[in-house]
């Protein structure tokens, strides 16, 4: 029952963050450190679960001898999206909305850069059709 561990872990971390922030006086930075550690551990758990799913998808793609370039682009885009969201939410929680917004924006731009071959291929396809 992993979900139980996840919930308990999140609750304990939240309580600890509140404890440190309340009694911290001027040691408030440790609340952020605990938040970063907790979110990182959650992300590790989630991404390991996901990577097993993606192995299945990749095997399927190989079996259907589908072209591999687009699949790896999709995976890269998903990875960028996860990390960008991870970073931007952490920054916003720590009180830095501007930095969080910039990380989010940078993630979008990088996804666009990674996805350009797909867009070019799409344009060529459309041009051939017309």
């Amino acid at each position: 029952m992993d979900i139980l561990k996840i919930v308990v872990f999140g609750l304990v971390a939240t309580l600890l963050i509140n404890l440190v922030n309340y009694y911290g006086g001027n040691a408030k930075a440790y609340g952020d450190l605990i938040r970063i550690a907790t979110v990182t551990i959650f992300m590790i758990f989630i991404v390991t679960q996901l990577s097993s799913v993606y192995q299945v998808i990749r095997d399927l793609a190989v079996k259907l001898n589908m072209e591999d370039t687009y699949l790896s682009i999709i995976l890269k885009v998903v990875a960028i999206a996860y990390l960008a969201e991870f970073g931007s939410q952490l920054c916003e929680d720590a009180g830095e909305k501007a930095i969080g917004g910039k990380i989010q924006w940078a993630g979008k731009v990088m996804i666009f850069v990674v996805a350009t071959p797909v867009i070019v291929a799409l344009m060529n396809l459309i041009a051939d059709l017309i």
Binding site: L16, A29, G31, I34, I36, F86
Partner: protein, 64 residues
């Protein structure tokens, strides 16, 4: 996978630094408050470093 020890260590570190700052106030050595909290934060970051590295490793394998 879910080791609770990290967050307890960090919380303990935070409380210890807070107590130390209070002690330094009462003793009157105010100039030592800053170095101690910097060292405390660095220790916390070192604790977290392994997890962030592990996260990036997993994401690397994920997007290969």
């Amino acid at each position: 996978m879910f080791d609770f020890s990290v967050i307890f260590k960090l919380a303990g570190l935070g409380i210890c630094v807070a107590i130390l700052n209070m002690l330094l106030d009462s003793v009157g050595a105010k100039e030592w408050k800053f170095p101690i909290s910097v060292v405390g934060v660095i220790m916390g970051l070192l604790l977290i470093l392994n997890y962030v590295r592990q996260l990036f490793e997993v994401v690397q394998t994920f997007s290969m």
